[in-house]
């Protein structure tokens, strides 16, 4: 197992270098640079300001030097300094990561709590009214963009509270960590977690249903039934555990996606998370930050996939790694 984990981590290195090279090149294909954006509209006839800015950020160095600097920094865990804010990238990311992580975790919990029971029931009650309702809810969840759901839920909260109390209410717009003020924290993140979690649960629900349907038709389930095992034991111990293999993969991919992919939801709810930082850094052509964020997301994907693969062995004892 240990050897397997180390091999997988080593195999991630070319993936990371490839991703680094790709994002490095792509960022430099965009015309303009961070200095032009920051000073272009207001340097008031002072071209020296832009040149001085470029020099201070190392943008006048040859591309290969910039790339090697970036790679060297990344592999020594020094992500450098943001070209936009002048602050350490690790600090900028560190201040946003808790928000994204909390939303991702809460959305995952919500998704799992909704998707696995409903997906299982839907499969067990195939083609009944219950199955139809669950499938409808799932399809609606997939078809509804979470940002739209976010906007609508905000409007709804504003209107309902206004009608009920005469004062419109909305969740707080400045993040407070859970341990500082749990109530304020939850009132801020609950709505976005639910809107993201709903779409997430819809995808997972459909996967759970189809996996369960497939497993329930397997020979070993028939054997278990012929042995006279209770249906509850068959479902919980034999069917669900096996059906969860593809579901776990999906949950892993979705979770990794949420770390950097909540761009619009974060904007709708004014959450200062990684997704919003990603968009800002691309807009500001902050190459250092964009590269660091891309590498962060790639790393999260690689690690999540590794964790998912390790979970396979726990879920299905026939799977062994060497």
């Amino acid at each position: 197992m240990y050897r397997y984990v180390v091999t997988r981590l080593l195999l991630a290195v070319p993936t990371l270098v490839g991703a680094a090279a790709l994002v490095f090149v792509l960022m430099r294909l965009i015309p303009g640079d961070v200095c032009v954006i920051r000073l272009g509209a207001g340097s008031h006839g002072n071209p020296g300001a832009i040149e001085a800015c470029r020099q201070s950020l190392g943008l006048d160095n040859p591309l290969i030097v910039q790339f090697l600097d970036f790679l060297g920094n990344y592999f020594t865990f020094d992500f450098g300094t943001s070209m936009w804010s002048g602050r350490r990238v690790a600090h900028e990311i560190g201040s946003r990561l808790p928000v994204s992580l909390q939303i991702a975790l809460m959305a995952t919990v919500i998704a799992v709590l909704i998707a696995i029971p409903l997906g299982t029931i839907s499969a067990l009650k195939e083609n009944t009214w219950l199955d139809h309702i669950v499938r409808m809810v799932a399809i609606a969840g997939i078809a509804t963009p979470s940002f739209w759901l976010g906007i609508m839920s905000l409007v709804l909260v504003l209107d309902i509270t206004y009608l009920a109390t005469g004062k419109a209410w909305m969740p707080p717009i400045d993040y407070v960590p859970f341990w500082q003020d749990p109530l304020r924290n939850l009132s801020m993140v609950l709505l976005p977690a639910i809107t993201v979690g709903y779409r997430y649960s819809a995808v997972t629900m459909r996967m759970t249903r189809s996996a369960m349907l497939e497993v329930m038709r397997e020979d070993y389930i028939r054997t278990a039934r012929s042995k006279g095992l209770l249906e509850q034991i068959i479902v919980n111990r034999h069917a669900l555990k096996n059906a969860l293999l593809p579901v776990v993969t999906l949950i892993g991919i979705e979770f990794a996606f949420l770390i950097g992919g909540l761009v619009v939801t974060e904007q709708v709810f004014n959450l200062n998370g990684i997704g919003r930082l990603f968009v800002q850094s691309v807009q500001n052509q902050d190459n250092v930050m964009t590269q660091a964020l891309t590498m962060l997301v790639v790393t999260v994907f690689v690690l999540t996939n590794l964790v998912v693969d390790l979970l396979y062995a726990w879920l299905d004892p026939r799977i062994r790694y060497s």
Partner: protein, 534 residues
């Protein structure tokens, strides 16, 4: 108490307060926290000398003092300046070439140390003559400054190379914060990431990209101010978030500006809990043809582009959906140096008879062999008002048979296209802080003199007219010189087309008192005179 905008529309350049803001009639109350929205993600740095974005001003101006400023109780004035750190506005000596300011005694920095003329001098040296490795964005504003001297702890003297009316407004620029000399001597970059001034509020915390907070400075030198106990600026670049936050009273106001649709929905939903202040804005879009590209090197084609546009009918229509309103020339409409309507109507692009104007445009195009011309209008990927203005222009040009395609690009490529001359015609912008026409109009000089003039033309006559205007000290003569420069720019050479000036719409909760709108979102941002009537 919401009145229709049209009732007040006649006041060119004047700040028009839509809702009643009877601040003067009430005694300010002490206490409370003002939570306001900052319509940006985060400022690139806190160094006002280096930055040009309003995000820096909205975040950090309350922590700093300046030498002089626009009057906080009348920030709409385009000609008045009052002391902040100085004791009285000086009369220039030496034929208008020397300004001596006495510095207010007993002013303390937030660290408890005393602010002297040496700190003021060091800050202004950094702004006007930045040392190696320091970026000062507004160096060219102070091209008239020859020397800055600090003869003693209470006096600072500015010696100019030539007398000009542009100097005082330039000195009142809202980015010219006073830093502590001792800190600058140790590290010229310290103020990029740190805040320590002598303004009405003391910096307390900054959550990157989230919020900035300050607490009342009890040692503030303007007696009784600030009225608030604390301030909190929350960063939110999405307009919907800001509007919802004001509606739900998560925030009391924002200071940049909303489009008319957001104003209307906010007023409809929040009713009397929200009041609106409005003003013409010292910002506008400039339509710049690339003189290095055919056929835009031909003045007849450039004039035709201007003559096709019906500014007088377009402005009121556009103002219903976009943040633009007042028709103007190269000078902000509220300034004494601005052209009157009659003066404007003599120039290409402002003729009162649009049919006659378009007939002339068609004639010029035919004469230049450019009938049915196809070209690309490069625009910035910003809705308000860029894309609205761009779309309107294309419709206007279609009326004289032009076939124009709008190419919308993100901010970086937009700047790059302009700087590299990689465009046919571009929707550029000129957004200034303090109304200082003599400097604001530098944008229309040839590129060799003013590198941010993107038309890329050589025009010695333009430079000659500009310099005459810049150095003219008699107001009447300066106005005449400005007209000559403006006519040359917009009519004779048609170097650029000015579209209606932007329009500032500021919402605030009705309990917010004391703050008055100005023609710029950079001005009057120290928040010292705001109080809460709760």
């Amino acid at each position: 108490m919401y009145l229709r905008t049209g009732l007040l529309a006649a006041g060119l350049g004047l700040a028009a307060t839509i809702a009643a803001v009877p601040a003067g009639a009430q005694t300010p109350k002490r206490g409370g926290t003002l939570v306001y929205m900052i319509p940006a993600d985060s400022p690139p740095s806190f160094d006002g000398h280096r930055e040009t974005t309003f995000a820096t001003v909205h975040a950090a101006a309350p922590f700093y003092s300046v030498l002089i400023r626009v009057p906080p109780d009348n920030p709409a004035s385009t000609t008045e300046y009052v002391c902040d750190l100085c004791t009285e506005m000086p009369k220039p000596t030496d034929d208008g070439k020397t300004y001596t300011f006495k510095i207010r005694p007993g002013v303390k920095f937030h660290d408890g140390s005393t602010l002297t003329a040496k700190d003021v001098g060091a800050s202004w040296q950094r702004i006007v003559f930045p040392p190696q490795g320091v970026t000062s964005a507004r160096v060219s504003y102070y091209a008239m400054v020859d020397k800055i001297e600090v003869p003693d702890d209470n006096t600072i003297v500015f010696k100019l190379k030539f007398a000009t009316s542009a100097f005082l407004p330039a000195l009142a620029d809202p980015f010219t914060w006073i830093y502590k000399k001792e800190i600058l001597d140790k590290d010229q970059h310290w103020y990029e990431k740190n805040i320590m001034g002598s303004g009405p509020f003391k910096f307390t915390s900054y959550d990157v990209g989230q919020a900035i907070k300050g607490a009342r400075n009890p040692d503030y030198y303007h007696k009784g101010q600030p009225y608030l106990d604390a301030i909190e600026g929350i960063f939110a670049d999405k307009q919907a978030v800001r509007v919802d936050a004001i509606r739900a009273d998560r925030a009391a106001m924002e200071f940049r500006g909303l489009p008319p649709s957001a104003r209307d929905s906010l007023v409809k939903e929040a009713g009397k809990d929200v009041v609106i202040q409005e003003s013409d804005w010292n910002c506008g879009n400039i339509i710049t043809p690339n003189h290095k590209k055919k056929p835009f090197d031909d003045v007849r084609v450039r004039r035709a582009l201007a003559l096709a546009i019906d500014q007088w009918a377009g402005a009121p229509a556009l103002s219903k959906i976009a943040t633009v309103k007042t028709v103007g020339g190269i000078v902000f409409p509220g300034s004494p140096l601005a052209a009157t309507k009659e003066e404007l109507q003599k120039m290409a692009g402002y003729w009162p008879d649009i049919e006659k104007s378009r007939a002339e445009a068609r004639r010029l195009l035919k004469e230049a062999g450019a009938e049915g011309l196809k070209f690309e209008l490069t625009n910035r990927n910003v809705d308000q008002p860029y894309k609205f203005v761009g779309t309107w222009l294309i419709g206007e040009w279609k009326k004289i048979g032009l076939n124009v395609e709008q190419k919308v690009v993100p901010t970086g490529p937009w700047f790059q296209a302009m700087r590299g001359g990689n465009f046919d015609v571009v929707v550029d912008a000129n957004c200034q802080s303090i109304v200082n026409p003599a400097l604001d109009t530098g944008k229309y000089l040839p590129k060799s003199i003013y590198p941010e003039s993107y038309g890329d033309y050589d025009d010695p006559k333009s430079a000659e007219l500009y310099n005459k205007m810049l150095r003219e000290s008699d107001p009447k003569a300066q106005r005449a010189a400005m007209r000559a420069y403006e006519t040359h720019t917009l009519d004779t050479m048609a170097h650029a087309i000015i579209t209606p000036y932007w329009f500032r719409i500021i919402p605030e909760r009705s309990y917010v008192k004391g703050w008055k709108i100005s023609p710029s979102h950079y001005l009057n941002q120290d928040l010292a005179n705001i109080w809460l009537d709760k």
